[in-house]
């Protein structure tokens, strides 16, 4: 009897695992924000046109069939073309959206690197000048002898 029950339980779990694996892996909101309304040119999750409603209906149908997000997106492309995906196309003006970051990011890093080097050099030069001033060398902000005498005189006048 116990063996029979164990066999039934084992069979139940063996069948349950594939059933869980076949349950829908995605949701409408999860797909909607990565897809466009092909006529409105807006994200599907904010579109209410007839074609947007049809796209949502197709997504719901495919979710009910247990399709993954990638499969649903492929089916949307098959019906509505690549413009349905909320990402720049790989032809025409869309290419610019892919290449501009590729060019601008290294360029920005290069500019930042050059600017950092320049700031470091200036900082080092200023530090050297400051150190020279302490040692008595004539830096750009050092007082000449006449000014130093006048400053001493005025400070001693305050002391009286």
């Amino acid at each position: 009897m116990r063996r029979g029950a164990a066999a039934v339980l084992l069979a139940f779990f063996a069948l349950a695992v594939p059933a869980v694996a076949a349950t829908p892996r995605t949701t409408l909101p999860d797909v909607e924000d990565e897809v466009m309304c092909v006529e409105c040119g807006t994200a599907l999750n904010v579109s209410q046109s007839p074609v947007a409603n049809q796209e949502r209906e197709l997504i719901r149908r495919l979710i009910a069939q247990g399709r993954s997000k990638a499969e649903i997106k492929a089916a949307l492309v098959d019906s509505y073309g690549p413009d349905v995906l909320a990402e720049p196309s790989d032809s025409g003006i869309g290419v610019a959206a892919w290449w501009i970051p590729v060019v601008l990011v290294p360029l920005g890093l290069l500019v930042a690197l050059l600017a950092a080097r320049r700031w470091r050099r200036r900082g080092a030069a200023a530090a050297a000048a400051g150190a020279g001033g302490v040692a008595g060398a004539a830096g750009p902000d050092a007082l000449d002898e006449a000014d130093a005498r006048r400053l001493d005189a005025e400070l001693s006048a305050f002391d009286r």
């Binding site: 092909v38 006529e39 007839p50 074609v51 049809q54 209906e57 019906s79 073309g81 413009d83 025409g92």
Partner: protein
């Protein structure tokens, strides 16, 4: 703002490149009305031809398959309300054209295939349709909305067009001439 001479040219060139990119983007998204102008001037233009998948059937088809026959090319989608209203009239036009060796050829654009086929069944449509899923083909006709129709003569030239639903008056004004030429 004072710009160092060393930076002047790189900044100017980068700005010019960005402006050029913007201009290209705007120009490539613009609509082409050259076909409308030619048809209005009475100078028919050879209709664009492209091989597309057949709707509800295997294989591909093209306007070129109908060379030597008049064709009323209709751009439609099942989610488009005016297309639904226009379909019965197009089916009648198809029967009229078929009797004279012509056909209506549908181009279903950006549509769920299952819905599109259900739509044709519900309207009892018998003329063939091709699928232009990303509008690339109909873009060559300057299509901006749905439905739009293009009457193509037996020599493959666009002789009339309708940027919107066709009506009986439009069909009566344009069909007899192309059907006579075929006969």
């Amino acid at each position: 703002v004072h710009v160092r001479p060393r930076l002047y040219w790189p900044i100017t060139l980068a700005a010019a490149a960005l402006v050029g990119l913007l201009a290209y983007g705007l120009a490539s998204k613009g609509t082409d009305d050259s076909l409308d102008q030619s048809v209005a001037n009475g100078t028919p233009v050879t209709a664009p031809v492209s091989t597309l998948p057949r709707l509800g059937a295997t294989g591909t088809g093209s306007l070129a398959d109908y060379r030597g026959r008049p064709v009323l090319l209709n751009v439609w989608a099942s989610w488009c309300d005016p297309c639904q209203e226009e379909m019965p009239l197009l089916e009648k036009a198809h029967k009229r054209m078929a009797a004279a060796g012509g056909t209506v050829l549908g181009v279903d654009v950006q549509d769920d295939q299952e819905k599109a086929l259900g739509f044709l069944r519900s309207k009892r449509i018998t003329f063939p349709s091709l699928r232009d899923r990303d509008r690339a083909y109909v873009h060559e006709f300057g299509v901006t909305g749905y439905p739009e129709s293009f009457l193509i003569d037996a020599r493959g030239r666009v002789v009339a067009l309708s940027r919107g639903p066709v009506d009986q008056a439009w069909l009566d004004a344009h069909l007899p001439k192309v059907l006579r030429e075929r006969a």
